[in-house]
């Protein structure tokens, strides 16, 4: 048996590795090269320009503006999504106070799970179109609801106003992603021994204390993974924003991914666009490594 292991392993590993190399690694590698050229993407002609594209980026206020928006997303998206996800998962799995002997979720938690998870099943473009209609300042669901409640003063132009557009988009990103993390955290909570929660309940711990003192420390590994996923998502954000606002109004919702796309497919500056991509590659990589480092903690052994 032992000597037959490697051919079998290779047979399974090589084809996917080859595909990965051809379709993922090779384009990445090529973009490093293209970033050093002034290639315009419509003819085979190009010249090597060294680090000119990167120098240009340093002075491009629109790229900086987009990067700043990405950084805001990087801070806010994981924070809000994880906080909300933890809260909802707690309520659905251990927040119930109904049964005496078992630890359960609030009443109707099965239904809520379906509702929270539903956005996860929609494609990003559908989510974008859907919310663009909800935010329609004249006939959208949001303003209509506000007006019906007599809160006319709170009805805004949302996606048409630089003061609100970014927050409106952020809210959609949280909405679209939180369901997945509710399920992820919920699954992790299932693996936490029930008796810990029972003991906490017997000691009279409130829901909040249980969440902060028990759930978060025991779920730290999962939260860490969630943080990395959401950070990568925050550095992208392209698809949703492209559908909802195209970066407007007045670049208030612009992100680096959208800059890159516009430079490449709008102005046919493929060299420059690749340089933006290369920088984003390193930013994403650093953020991932950094967040793994920073969130490293002593692990609690269960049983």
């Amino acid at each position: 048996m032992r000597h037959g292991k490697y051919p079998l392993l290779l047979a399974f590993l090589l084809p996917p590795l080859a595909l990965y190399g051809y379709f993922v690694v090779s384009p990445y590698a090529q973009s490093f090269l293209i970033a050093m050229t002034n290639w315009q993407g419509l003819s085979p002609a190009y010249e090597f320009v060294g680090f000119d594209n990167f120098k240009r980026m340093m002075g491009d206020e629109y790229v900086w503006n987009a990067l700043l928006n990405n950084l805001w997303l990087l801070v806010l998206l994981p924070l809000l999504t994880i906080a909300l996800g933890l809260f909802l998962a707690t309520m659905l799995n251990v927040g119930g106070r109904g049964g005496r002997s078992t630890v359960t979720g609030v009443r109707g938690s099965g239904l809520y799970k379906v509702i929270y998870f539903a956005p996860q099943m929609l494609s990003v473009s559908i989510v974008g179109v859907l919310w663009a209609e909800v935010y329609n300042p004249r006939s959208g669901l949001l303003n209509s609801a506000l007006r019906a409640l007599g809160l006319d003063g709170l009805a805004k132009i949302w996606l048409g106003d630089p003061a609100y557009a970014f927050w409106a988009v952020l809210a959609v990103m949280v909405w679209a992603n939180v369901g997945f993390y509710v399920v992820l955290f919920g699954a992790a909570m299932q693996s936490v021994p029930r008796d810990i929660y029972e003991a906490a309940a017997l000691d009279g711990a409130s829901r909040l204390t249980t969440l902060v003192r028990i759930t978060v420390p025991l779920l730290w590994d999962t939260i860490q993974v969630a943080w990395v996923y959401l950070a990568i998502l925050a550095l992208d954000g392209f698809a949703l924003i492209h559908v909802m606002t195209r970066g407007g109004p007045n670049f208030s919702t612009d992100v680096v991914g959208l800059r890159l796309y516009t430079e490449a497919f709008g102005d046919y500056k493929w060299g420059y666009a690749s340089a933006i991509g290369v920088v984003m590659f390193f930013v994403t990589l650093s953020v991932t490594v950094l967040s793994l480092r920073l969130t490293r903690r002593e692990r609690i052994e269960l049983s």
Binding site: S26, N38, L42, P44, L159, G160, N250, F282, L285
Partner: protein, 476 residues
């Protein structure tokens, strides 16, 4: 759990290492995306002998590879043009394909040096024309323009076209683009609404503001605009300035002259238009609507005026109420001192068709254009898609819908006073991103006229100082 975490970190570390290694390896792989200089050389083009019936020297049995944008105009009109070509050259095999995203379909073929013979480069996925010209990817259409017309005896093709057609496709004096559909840009209103209410379209700006006041009093918002694409509002502003200061206002903008956007004419126009912002004559919520939503509000009668091109009628077909009778009119004159009369309107050829420089059957591509530019081809196009073609007089005798009829009349009234600008074709980014953003701020009331023009000028200066944009100049 500890083990899985370790794996995750190792994976990342290896990914980082792969990134570093990828640098040197890139050279080996470069031929893939960047293309290869040796392919697609210009030899091996199909060439036939020139004659009176075949002035471009088309090889009669050479295949013709055609890519059409499948959008608002559909593809039936193109098939009809191809059928005409096939009638002339029965031995030619015509390969027709209609796609939605021209750039994704054709960019690799341009890079590879194997582009089609004829491209309708249009739609949201349009390949930047300035970029194509700058990279020498397009064939010079001069032979076509100087060839005799297919069915107008004694005239060259260029003599059968509406004014401005050749210029709209020219870069530094050479014509690379055939813009086939003629578009009129102006202010649109419902003829029915105005007749019912007893309103009359105002010819001067003061009267326009007075009319807006009346319209608002009647419970209708005087204006709305394509909020998420606010550049639509730059058109009436620039038009007002051009009529006030003459065509050189637009020429200065096109040529990126310093201070072109802050000229006296532009100042006067921006000041005038600021009135509709200040007096709240714009439908509430407009900045948050996209073009479809705002145009639909207008069709529902919630707003009286909207700025658009003559594609509006077909774009709104599904939601326009029966008897709405949309009509287009020129921008009001600022005063009696205007250089151009009230009737002067912005008209230009749009819907670009090109023949790639590396097309195998370059002559065939141009010959197909010659068929399109015949009287028969133009008439057929107008009949099929309810839009004007650039062929002068080809719409005569075709029954047109109400809006298009008003566009034809506006064009005739405008006559030789018609004007246009092309900075949006030369520098896509300037209009689509920079002026667009500035218009959004201005028409939402967040900036003053001076700030608005300064923002536009800043954008123009940015393009002018950027050596990576090829600069074009026009003198007519």
């Amino acid at each position: 759990m500890a083990q899985s975490d370790l794996t995750r970190r190792t994976v990342l570390r290896r990914a980082a290492a792969a990134g570093v290694l990828a640098g040197p390896a890139a050279g080996l792989l470069s031929s893939c995306a960047l293309g290869d200089d040796t392919s697609g050389d210009t030899s091996g083009k199909y060439e036939g002998t020139k004659s009176d019936k075949n002035p471009l020297g088309v090889k009669e049995d050479a295949p013709l590879d055609i890519v059409i944008f499948n959008g608002g105009f559909g593809e039936d009109y193109a098939k009809a043009h191809q059928a005409m070509y096939k009638e002339t050259y029965p031995k030619a095999e015509v390969k027709h394909s209609a796609v939605v995203e021209i750039n994704k379909e054709l960019q690799p073929r341009f890079v590879d040096g194997t582009p089609p013979d004829f491209v309708n480069n249009s739609g949201a996925g349009q390949i930047d024309l300035g970029g194509l010209v700058a990279q020498g990817a397009l064939a010079d259409l001069t032979p076509l323009l100087d060839a005799p017309s297919l069915d107008v005896p004694g005239k060259k093709v260029r003599e059968t076209l509406l004014p401005g057609t050749v210029e709209s496709g020219s870069f530094d004096g050479k014509t690379y683009v055939l813009n086939y559909a003629y578009t009129v840009y102006g202010i649109w209103y419902s003829n029915k609404l105005f007749t019912d209410k007893g309103w009359e379209y105002a010819k001067t700006w003061d009267e326009h503001i007075a009319l807006c006041k009346k319209i608002k009093a009647a419970g209708i918002a005087p204006w709305t605009y394509q909020g998420k694409h606010p550049r639509y509002m730059s058109w009436p502003v620039i038009s007002t300035a051009v009529k006030f200061g003459g065509p050189q206002v637009a020429m200065a903008i096109d040529n990126l002259e310093p201070g072109a956007w802050t000229s006296d004419a532009m100042k006067a126009a921006a000041e005038a238009w600021y009135q509709i912002v200040k007096d709240k004559y714009i439908l509430e919520g407009s900045p948050g609507l996209d073009h479809k939503q705002s145009q639909t509000e207008w069709c529902k009668g919630n707003a009286a005026f909207i700025s658009c091109g003559s594609w509006l009628e077909s774009e709104q077909k599904a939601v326009t109420p029966e008897g709405f009778n949309m009509a287009v009119a020129p921008t009001p004159s600022l005063g009696s001192g205007d250089k151009l009369p009230f009737a002067a309107i912005r008209g230009t050829a749009g819907e670009p068709f090109v023949v790639p420089a590396k097309a195998k059957n370059e002559r065939g591509g141009m010959e197909l254009m010659r068929h399109m530019l015949s009287m028969k081809g133009g008439k057929d196009f107008t009949g099929k898609v309810s839009s004007l073609s650039v062929v002068s007089g080809a719409a005569d005798g075709v029954t047109l819908p109400f809006g298009l009829t008003s566009a034809v009349k506006a064009l005739a009234d405008s006559g030789s006073n018609g004007f246009n600008w092309v900075y949006n074709v030369y520098y896509r980014k300037l209009e689509r991103e920079l002026v667009d953003a500035a218009c959004g701020e201005f028409f939402s009331g967040r900036t003053t006229p001076a700030e608005f023009l300064a923002a536009c000028q800043k954008g123009a200066d940015l393009i002018a100082a950027d050596t990576t944009f090829k600069k074009y100049k026009r003198s007519a």
